[in-house]
């Protein structure tokens, strides 16, 4: 250990003498505040940038109900898949197969539901698939995702492949099955009771909260509880923080990783099914390249690629940043072809800023703590 670590001098502060942080602070646990401020800053910036020349703030085009609704909707499936990816990355792993798994899971569900492809026994005379099949088809989609994830985990823990390789293989395999199964044709004519899931809104006043967003929030809460309140969640952090120490503490690292990759597959599947339901079609090219969006959301959200650190809330904010960025740059008039370059630049800037603040306050203390202190003193 270095001599410079904060030990006894901090010890004198005492455990009980500290100001108990308010709910807001506890929610953000310090580490997410930096990135949350980036999100707030972005929203303000885009609001100002989208005011047409010579007009007032009220004519901005960014913070409109329809636009907010669009942004929320558009990052919902990315976020759901990203919650699984968060867990994988906390174990110091990576899942490159998310996009393909989303497509395959979506196809599996759609294939059971479309009158063009569904097995004849599901068809009720009049060409339509009975409503009762829908939950089954969704479960099959989720199951396909979970199986892909389990296979990833199996290759990594039993065959000993590096996560990068195993999931790169799955990226190709799942996409290949999607192509082969669909013969390259999109599966269309999905029943209305299925597409409703992705298209339904919950009206709140004159604002329509998209159903996928509500589902995403529910999944976020479950994932957060899983990671922070259950034995498995504790183990995920232990394995990611130091696999050797975790193993020597009697934790089965194999089972932990297997579980995490399976969950990541399951949530990828959920994102895929939701996406399919929203689009009303399962295209074999669906969700191509989504793995990069998903990983970007996780990393922007402060989860360390080195493992052992990260949070669902951070990923949620990270996914929101990605969503705001895409829509905002669009509305601000960045030409579509240039969009990816602008996105990449801003992601790098955002992470650089966050890292810089963390270093400013010494390693692992973070901008957040500084901000938390400021909030506290401001209130006192």
């Amino acid at each position: 250990m270095s001599e410079t670590t904060v030990n006894d001098s901090v010890g004198s502060v005492g455990a009980k003498g500290q100001v108990s942080p308010g709910f807001f602070l506890r929610l953000f646990r310090g580490q997410e505040i930096g990135i949350f401020l980036v999100l707030v800053f972005m929203i303000i910036a885009f609001t100002l940038l989208t005011i047409p020349e010579g007009e007032s703030l009220s004519s901005q085009k960014f913070l409109t109900p329809v636009n907010i609704q669009n942004i929320l909707l558009n990052f919902s499936w990315t976020a759901i898949a990203a919650f699984g990816a968060t867990m994988v990355i906390i174990t110091a792993g990576i899942d490159l197969s998310v996009g393909s798994v989303m497509a395959l899971a979506g196809l599996a569900t759609a294939w059971l539901l479309s009158p063009d492809t569904a097995p004849a026994m599901f068809l009720s005379g009049g060409e339509a698939v009975p409503t009762i099949i829908t939950p089954l088809a969704i479960l099959v989609g989720l199951g396909v995702g979970a199986i892909c994830g389990f296979l990833n985990g199996f290759w990594i823990t039993v065959a000993g492949l590096p996560p990068f390789i195993a999931t790169l293989g799955m990226l190709q395999i799942a996409r290949g099955i999607t192509y082969g199964w669909s013969q390259g044709w999109p599966v269309q004519r999905l029943p209305q009771h299925f597409t409703a899931i992705g298209r339904q809104n919950l009206p709140i006043g004159n604002f329509n909260l998209p159903l996928p967003t509500i589902i995403m929030v529910i999944v976020a809460v479950i994932a957060w509880l899983f990671l922070t309140r259950t034995v498995w969640g504790y183990r995920v952090f232990a394995v990611g923080g130091n696999e050797q120490a975790a193993r020597l503490s009697g934790i089965s690292t194999r089972r932990t990783k297997l579980l995490v990759y399976t969950i990541a597959g399951l949530l990828g599947g959920a994102g895929g099914v939701l996406l399919t339901s929203r689009l009303g079609v399962a295209a074999p090219t669906a969700a191509q390249g989504y793995e990069l969006d998903v990983i970007a959301a996780v990393v922007v959200g402060g989860t360390s690629l080195m493992g052992g650190e990260g949070s669902i809330l951070g990923t949620l904010i990270g996914a929101a940043i990605m969503g705001v960025l895409r829509t905002g740059l669009n509305l601000a008039g960045v030409p579509a072809y240039w969009l990816p370059a602008a996105q990449g630049t801003i992601i790098i800037l955002a992470i650089t800023l966050d890292q810089w603040y963390r270093r400013q306050r010494g390693a692992h203390v973070g901008f957040s703590r500084m901000f938390a202190g400021w909030l506290r003193s401001g209130r006192a």
């Binding site: 670590t5 030990n7 259950t230 504790y234 232990a238 193993r247 020597l248």
Partner: protein, 508 residues
């Protein structure tokens, strides 16, 4: 007596967020002098060393080299000025060869155009590396890959690397903590040779016994301040310790007689190919069983196999008279065995997790109902153990990376105590921790033995082995060469068995 100090620092201070790491420290070293820098963890030794090696920038104060004030800039600058540092954590690239590491950033270039294009003269590099390796007296080949070397061998490579820059001042940060007695002797010979060449050595160590063998002068730091120095002739261990801790410590090796009961662990003919051969011993309730031996004798390997961390080829492990099938650490945990591994940072703790999360790692499921962790339950139990073991941490949420070595070690021990083990294996339990914490760990071991736990203690420190053990298992080249009783054990006898000069037959 007007020798000009080769290096002198005056009024150096350094602050880190929340910590005054160095406070107005003065220090000087003459050519050909060996100075031991001692102090507890957090005293500022490493900080001072890092300032001298250019790794940290001082906040204030002056550094004089040959009487002239200098700016070291960065580690490269310090090396250029003749200050070379051997860090406690190795700075070697594991996948490269020994030669590449010795000449890292100073690779000899090929002749002519190729050299200008950046091609390395590998033959020359290996030949020069060989010379340096001969100098430190190791048989390691220059084209061996670092990853394949033992910790002791890596240490020697580090030293060869420091010699490669032709340094006038060599700083060694706990170079012996990873070495066994044999290697330590070799290292001291090297230090003496360096001294004879007129080079100066700053030697940081926690093993106070060593100082008398090697140092000319002892400088003591405490809480970032210079508290005094002793000429070797006038120093005693007690004097050094009272300067270090600022108070008297009654006893570093606190050993209490415990009621030694029935056999709780029986190891029969344990073997693993190329790792250990035919290891047998038993352990009784209330007993502290020391395992002595040189580095590489198979002590850690035995512990890891017992604990299920590595596979065994043959042999049996009996716990409380029942054959235990231990294939994973989980099995060991269930059988009531705990392991405090030799490397806290790599194997004992998840450094970026909190004290709380580390404490409950082995016992999580006991604190959970249907998978949900009982957070108030773990918090109160963890607080109990933090209090009982006097683990100094601001709170349970503190990341363990911010604790001192001694407190980290207590967290690892406490983690196992939570699981109520019958058998606790401690591998180098006091390596690299300060005197105060060391005394506390020893007292704790005695206390646990008194409560009826069986304790296996692997140690490379002879005084610790002799003072704490009820019986001593001595290993040499992967085998048990002797099991000695506390009464008959002496340093010489243990060394004789540990080096293979005596065999069990000769003794009985």
């Amino acid at each position: 007596m007007a020798v000009q100090p080769i290096l002198r620092v005056e009024g150096v201070s350094k602050t880190f967020p929340g910590v005054q790491a160095l406070d107005n420290v003065n220090f000087a070293i003459n050519p050909g002098e060996v100075v031991a820098l001692v102090g507890e963890n957090g005293a500022g030794k490493s900080t001072l060393m890092k300032i001298l090696s250019g790794a940290y920038r001082r906040d204030s104060g002056t550094i004089y080299l040959d009487g002239k004030p200098v700016e070291l800039g960065d580690p490269y600058g310090a090396q250029q000025m003749g200050i070379s540092t051997i860090y406690q954590e190795f700075n070697l690239t594991p996948t490269q060869t020994v030669a590449a590491n010795v000449f890292i950033s100073r690779e000899p270039l090929a002749r002519g155009i190729l050299g200008r294009l950046g091609f390395v003269d590998r033959a020359r590099m290996e030949a020069e590396a060989q010379t340096l390796l001969d100098m430190v007296g190791t048989a390691v080949s220059p084209d061996a890959v670092i990853r394949s070397l033992s910790v002791a061998e890596r240490q020697l490579v580090e030293i060869a690397k420091a010699l490669a820059v032709d340094a006038r001042i060599i700083i060694m940060d706990e170079p012996t903590s990873a070495l066994g007695d044999e290697e330590v002797h070799k290292l001291f010979e090297i230090v003496r040779a360096l001294k004879a060449q007129g080079r100066s050595v700053i030697f940081i160590t926690h093993r106070l016994e060593e100082i008398f063998e090697i140092a000319d002068r002892i400088v003591v730091l405490r809480d970032g301040q210079y508290v005094g120095e002793l000429k070797i002739a006038e120093a005693t261990i007690d004097k050094i310790i009272s300067l270090m801790v600022g108070r008297e410590i009654d006893e570093i090796y606190h050993k209490e007689a415990a009621q030694i009961g029935e056999v709780i662990l029986e190891v029969k003919n344990l073997a693993a190919t190329g790792v250990i051969k035919d290891v047998s011993f038993d352990l009784r309730r209330g007993e502290i069983l020391g395992i002595a031996g040189l580095v590489g004798a198979g002590r850690t390997e035995t512990a890891r196999i017992l604990f299920g961390a590595d596979p065994k080829a043959s042999g049996e492990i009996w716990v409380e008279g029942r054959l235990a099938h231990i294939r994973t650490p989980e099995d060991a945990l269930r059988a009531g065995i705990g392991l405090v591994p030799e490397d806290r940072g790599q194997q004992g703790l998840v450094l970026q997790l909190s004290v709380l999360n580390n404490l409950v790692m082995p016992t999580l499921s006991r604190f959970a109902k249907r998978g949900w962790v009982d957070r108030s339950g773990i918090t109160s139990t963890a607080q109990d153990y933090v209090d009982k073991l006097t683990i100094r941490t601001p709170n349970l949420e503190q990341k363990t990376m911010f604790l001192s070595g001694g407190n980290q070690q207590k967290v690892v021990v406490a983690k196992w105590l939570l699981s109520n083990p019958k058998i606790l294996i401690l591998d180098e339990p006091t390596r690299g921790i300060d005197v105060g914490a060391k005394a506390e760990i020893h007292a704790l071991m005695s206390e646990l033995a008194k409560q009826g736990m069986g304790i296996i203690m692997i140690s490379s420190e002879m005084p610790e082995i002799l003072a704490m053990s009820d019986r001593i298992v001595v290993m040499h080249e992967r085998r048990v060469t002797a099991i000695l009783d506390r009464k008959e054990a002496t340093q010489e006898l243990i060394m004789a068995f540990a080096t293979g000069q005596a065999t069990e037959g000769a003794m009985q």
